[in-house]
Assembly symmetry: C2
Homo-oligomer: 394 residues x 2
């Protein structure tokens, strides 16, 4: 039997958990006696001939444990969209030549939506040419917007940063004896999962991209809240839109460009925009805090559950690929909320690519500006215990 | 002997450690058999008659422990400057009437520079009227800019957030195979202590308010660095100025207002400004990250040493006041770096008020864009161990 080789790459934005998945792939590969090769800077770097031998580099368990706890993409990443198969096959030919030269029996790609698209296209091209290389997608995204899986590695840690930050900011905002509204701007282009996780810290409102936001309705609600209390906290997704579909951040910074995936290049400014409207219309103190890229890279605030699951998914994916599975993504299936229990399962990667999973309507509160207890039951085990703090003085 | 009573207030911006000092005051007061009263919203709320009995509220040790671990100012805070004594005594008369009515034998005020000014003025007025009430300042500021003390409670925790965030952001910035410069904007109006703490994560440059920054010199240095490496990280204080004394953030947002202490109301924008200049002049990708108010309220990332010392200082201050000490501030004296050892000592509060302690010139590197190993030896025990991460691939 020929030597088996797993080739693994990381793609898209980094997270606190993506290296835990890489560690899982390497550990499983070593256990299975396979060679493990890593793409430097994803498909793009690999196209330029850049790869690195991993099973030999990680003979030490200490290094594997360190890799597990290191945030961001240790192999390097890229944002690179493969052309539609059939339009320009040169890139595919070059990639498959390199796969063959390296002796890859399986290609694993750790990433989000765009990466599942990459895996689907590679698998389709491979099938069309009769290649026996297997292709498996390993999910990773702080956005938690992949279909077919209970949640995605990376989400729990980012959600932990968001929820604990919201708790600290709420205490901070409440120290002066005056009326104020604080907008905490949270990542999430199309799906509001991460903004929704701020609800663990019980802010007054949570604004999601899933629900069009009418400025007048928001102002009315804020005015009501300010009659009842000093300090109003709002968790707001960067992807919140007006009823006609305009992003609020576009109102803040008109004319921003789009990236090669057709996404708006920068989404920040929603919180700043809403804070300035609120100050003008309600006359109270306002503050906008952008949680920024810290949400995905704050390795000092991780969810242990998230890292454990990311590692498990990496291992399952590598073993599945070596067992002959292909055109799959390794998903998580929840068995129970409390005590929390989860299993891995393989699903068709074609059913995942280019889909977006939104926060379901039944988990959004009736007024569209909050989440339900069911959502909190869903998210709590992914984030872990919130730090206990003394209740405020009446 | 008449019942003894400690009155305690919190002032200025909140920190992760200010409630630990409050817990220390309450614990010592209870142990000494004194009544402990708290001002709501500092001197300003107290002037309106707002106080709360604390020794009875904290008979439970569990609640005291929770208070110790709760960020921000649990009693509420204010930013309120007392008039110069002799100009308008009405406020002083009202305050001392309230002190007497409450039976306060000592007034403790937890805060930064402006709070030490408040304590000094109250003590001076008290002496001029023959009052026997004692006044003690309890230091607290993330800025670490009080003279007479090795460091201030609140600094270690904020520095831990800054340094660990810088470490995460550096990994995050390095994932793509392209040239980039990231500016991480860090709090610090006049003193660069907090920005300097980012050096624990070994960024390429650290820019402090202590050193005037010449734009051309910075661009030249960045260009050199970009020749050697892909990813350049810069920790920049929000208080960095041009050689003619203009704040860079004023260049970013001209015409911002000043607060009642004469400080510029908002200092943000330095990172954004430098990022846009760098992009324009060097043509590389740039990013600006504001660490924002998270620096002072991220109770999920605290330094245990900081909380312990804040608690100790609160206790020492309360006991000193009950023992008859007055017009003092409780400072920290370092005995040794490694193993780290520190003691409390009482110093004259008049020597502290309205002074600013800068990062000393001998702790700034020769080119003015970094700090020395001596500074790192100073700051390391205050911050605690940095999370270990796997070194990057070559």
């Amino acid at each position: 039997m020929a030597e088996r080789c797993v080739l693994v790459g990381q793609s898209g934005g980094p997270t606190a958990a993506i290296n835990a998945s890489l560690a899982g792939v390497i550990a499983a590969g070593i256990l299975e006696g396979a060679r493990v090769e890593g793409m430097r800077y994803g498909i793009q770097g690999f196209l330029d001939g850049r790869s690195v031998r991993l099973d030999e580099a990680f003979v030490s368990r200490v290094d594997l444990e360190l890799l597990r706890n290191t945030s961001a993409s240790w192999l390097g990443s890229c944002r690179f969209k493969l052309p539609a198969p059939g339009t320009d096959d040169t890139i595919y030919q070059r990639l498959f030549e390199r796969f063959e030269r390296l002796g890859a029996s399986a290609v694993l790609y750790i990433g989000g939506n765009d990466s599942m698209d990459t895996i689907s296209k590679l698998a389709a091209y491979g099938q069309s040419t009769g290649s026996d290389i297997r292709f498996i997608g390993v999910p990773k995204t702080i956005d938690n917007d992949l279909v077919g899986t209970d949640h995605t590695p990376g989400y729990g840690s980012a959600a932990r940063f968001v929820a604990t930050s919201m708790a600290g900011l709420a205490l901070d905002a409440d120290v002066y004896d005056l009326k104020s509204v604080t907008f905490v701007e949270i990542m999430g282009r199309d799906a509001g999962w991460l903004a929704a996780s701020s609800a663990l810290a019980r802010p007054d409102l949570v604004l999601l991209p899933e629900v069009p936001l009418v400025e007048d309705v928001l102002m009315e609600r804020l005015a009501q809240l300010l009659e009842q209390k000093n300090t109003v906290m709002v968790g707001v997704s960067e992807g919140v839109r007006t009823p006609d579909g305009t992003l609020y951040c576009e109102l803040a910074a008109p004319g921003a460009g789009v990236d090669e995936f057709g996404h708006l290049a920068t989404l920040s400014g929603t919180g700043r925009y809403l804070a300035s409207v609120t100050k003008e219309r309600l006359g109270c103190k306002t503050r906008a805090v952008e949680l920024s890229t810290l949400q995905r890279c704050a390795s000092q605030v991780v969810s242990r559950t998230d890292l454990d699951e990311a590692y498990m998914i990496g291992g399952t994916s590598a073993r599945a690929a070596l067992d002959g599975e292909s055109v799959k993504m390794c998903a998580l299936q929840r068995i129970a909320d409390d005590p929390y229990e989860v299993r891995t399962k393989l699903i068709d990667v074609l059913s995942v690519a280019n889909q977006v999973r939104h926060v379901p309507a039944e988990w959004i509160s009736e007024d569209g500006m909050g989440v339900t207890e069911d959502f909190l039951r869903y998210v709590r085990p992914l984030v872990g215990n919130m730090p206990e703090q003394l209740p405020p003085l009446p």
